[in-house]
């Protein structure tokens, strides 16, 4: 196997709060190969967004990456000085955020902001830059792109704004895009358009992507591999089809079983009892144990990552094939 594009190992990010040290990302390890879409799935507070921010070196005090490593093509990114990180951010790794209304500067035209993003990493004449911007905007499905460059964010709809945000991420043809819930704020019909667009982009450009989402269905239609996060840790990861068809961790199986599409209309849904734990008061062992139907004494110790072929999971009592979740 060729070396992965991105290798994250034991990444740990902590925030100092009044209630004590809050470990938002707790020893997270995964790899992303070139051209691969990695789905990072979890509920709010599971640490998936902070993982994305940590990779990009965007954690501000009181937060701090306290351990682990992030290597891009072998180059260590953790602890990289600001200038060196800025040379990578936006050029080799770009990010798309959830809310395009917050990402774009409301007082600058689309062309002005995209121009700033271009000149941050490249020397390009004004005319050439505009040409490039229009081409990228057209690529993400914005009609009449050359004229739209002079428009301001408020003149675009939510879906179009997200396309602009994706276009900005694409300007320097990055190796990796980290997309944080990019379709959550959009309507289903617009979400389907963006998903279709992203899918063909990945296929054509061969860039890699980390798609962060709470929605298993969206992830399942895009991702080659899936990592499931719970309370700051990855509890299970592997090829998307394998994880979704035969989940090993009981949190994953619980999430899948609770989907309404899996049940007869009107029938009681399988539900995971309780709520995610507070990160400042994690149980000593498996964080999912208090909500898990199979938890016993063994779960009071932290389960180790168990490797099975291309998959890993962290569960003392993994779901067996044929067992009803």
């Amino acid at each position: 196997m060729t070396a992965p594009l991105l290798a994250v190992e034991g990444l740990t990010t902590e925030f100092a709060t009044k209630a004590g040290i809050l470990r938002a990302v707790n020893g997270v390890s995964f790899e992303v190969a070139r051209g691969e879409v990695m789905g990072l799935v979890g509920e709010s507070g599971s640490g998936k967004t902070v993982t994305g921010f940590s990779i990009l070196g965007l954690i501000d005090p009181p937060g701090r990456v306290t351990g682990g490593s992030v290597r891009l093509d072998g180059q260590e990114l953790v602890g990289l000085p600001g200038g060196a990180m800025r040379a990578i951010r936006g050029k080799r790794i770009a990010m798309v955020f959830q809310d395009p209304a917050m990402t774009l500067n409301p007082v600058l035209s689309i062309g002005t902001q995209m121009g700033l993003a271009i000149r941050a990493h490249a020397n390009m004449s004004e005319a050439k830059a505009r040409q490039h911007m229009a081409a990228v905007l057209t690529r993400v499905g914005i009609p009449d792109a050359a004229r739209r460059l002079d428009a301001f964010p408020h003149q675009f709809s939510g879906g179009m704004r997200q396309r602009v945000a994706i276009a900005m991420a694409l300007l320097h043809a990055p190796d990796l895009i980290i997309a944080d819930e990019p379709t959550t704020a959009l309507d289903v019909s617009i979400q389907a358009q963006i998903l279709a667009e992203v899918k063909s982009l990945v296929a054509e450009t061969g860039m890699a992507m980390i798609w962060i989402s709470h929605d298993l269905a969206t992830v399942s239609s895009l991702a080659h591999r899936i990592a499931v996060m719970y309370a700051g840790r990855i509890v299970e990861q592997g090829p998307a089809v394998a994880v979704l068809r035969q989940p090993r961790h009981r949190y994953t199986s619980g999430l899948l079983a609770s989907l309404p599409s899996r049940a007869q209309p009107g029938a009681e849904l399988v539900q995971i009892p309780g709520a995610p734990p507070s990160l400042t008061a994690l149980p000593p062992g498996c964080a999912f144990a208090p909500r898990c139907p199979r938890a016993d004494r063994a779960c009071e110790t932290l389960p180790a990552m168990t490797r099975e072929g291309q998959r890993v999971h962290a569960c003392h009592h993994p779901v067996e094939a044929g067992e009803a979740a």
Partner: protein
């Protein structure tokens, strides 16, 4: 009993900005003043039978929340009337009052809908005490009963909303609505802001409460999966109009309106085969501005099968079997 219970007849709601003094004078003199009127709801008629759950589905801006507020009697329609058992739910005049306590609402965001300075017990008891449904002395027992019914510990009554998670807060909001002993519950996106693992808990709670209390529900959501699970009938809304309505199995199994079909196609499905082969069939274009909706059928600019007639003539809802669709080309 399956008689018509809640009836909306030709309900419309228009929002227009206040005109300035100058504009009002100009309008009074017969001048051409541009009024940017939004038709949030445009001639909607529907009925909900006792014990039935009707799902109202649409994308943001389609008017589903406005229609929900009108159905609940908390907003007066510009035209048309809403009746519960034949009696209007809201009074006349420029500042109309809701006339019934038999319809209650559960809102989307339990972080915004509960007063952070009130104890849970007071939040739940406020309505019933104000309306004389319960005496102050008996209120504590009522609160305890409802907290238990929605799956919370009765001792939580003395706590404040900030001490609860989103799912628990939504349970409190449901208890508050139900403590008024409503016959109809209007739920506006009640699970949209909850975490995935919590959504199933609240969906189950709705199912359980429907069984136990025989609740009639208007369930507003953009989530087609949740609606399918909870509702007997479904109405699909597009730019202020109902484009299709009928039994849930019929709508999901055999959608007649091209918008319904496109919407169902857009919902991401969990793929457990090789997901990288999934082909999306998105609807073309975007929701037009409600300030200037297209003439004729509102959906025609995005419709794959639109013809000339769709550009000029508004299609009426035509019934066939257990469903009705507002499309010139719908099979009958």
């Amino acid at each position: 009993m399956s008689a018509t219970f809640l009836e909306l007849s030709a309900v419309s709601k228009r929002f227009s900005p206040r005109l300035s003094l100058g504009e009002r004078i100009a309008a009074a003199l017969g001048g051409d003043v541009e009024t940017r009127t939004v038709h949030a709801v445009d001639g909607v008629s529907l009925t909900i039978k006792a014990g039935e759950a009707l799902g109202l589905v649409g994308e943001s801006g389609c008017g589903k929340t406005t229609l929900g507020r009108i159905a609940a009697g908390s907003m007066a329609p510009s035209e048309g009337i809403v009746r519960l058992d034949g009696v209007p739910v809201i009074g006349p005049g420029p500042h109309p009052r809701k006339l019934t306590t038999r319809i209650q609402t559960v809102f989307q965001d339990p972080f915004a809908s509960l007063d952070p300075r009130m104890r849970i017990g007071d939040i739940i008891a406020e309505g019933p005490i104000a309306h004389g449904l319960v005496s102050k002395d008996a209120a504590a027992a009522l609160v305890g009963e409802w907290l238990g019914r929605v799956g919370l510990d009765p001792s939580f009554a003395s706590r404040y909303p900030h001490m609860f998670s989103g799912g628990q807060r939504q349970r409190v909001a449901i208890a508050r609505a139900l403590a008024m002993k409503p016959d109809i519950l209007v739920c506006d996106e009640p699970v949209a802001s909850l975490d995935v693992s919590i959504q199933a808990q609240i969906v189950n709670l709705f199912l359980q409460l429907r069984r136990e209390l025989g609740l009639t529900m208007l369930f507003i959501s953009h989530d087609l999966g949740v609606v399918r699970h909870i509702c007997d009938r479904v109405a699909i809304m597009y730019l202020g109009r109902i484009v299709e309505i009928g039994a849930a199995e019929a709508i999901y199994g055999d959608p007649r309106h091209p918008y319904t079909r496109a919407l169902l196609d857009s919902v991401p499905k969990l793929v457990i085969e090789d997901g990288t082969n999934v082909v999306f069939k998105p609807i073309q274009g975007e929701l037009p501005s409600p300030l200037s909706p297209p003439r004729g059928c509102h959906f025609h600019p995005r419709c794959p099968i639109a013809m000339d007639r769709c550009r000029g003539e508004i299609p009426a809802l035509k019934a066939s079997g257990t469903q009705s669709a507002a499309c010139h080309l719908a099979p009958t």
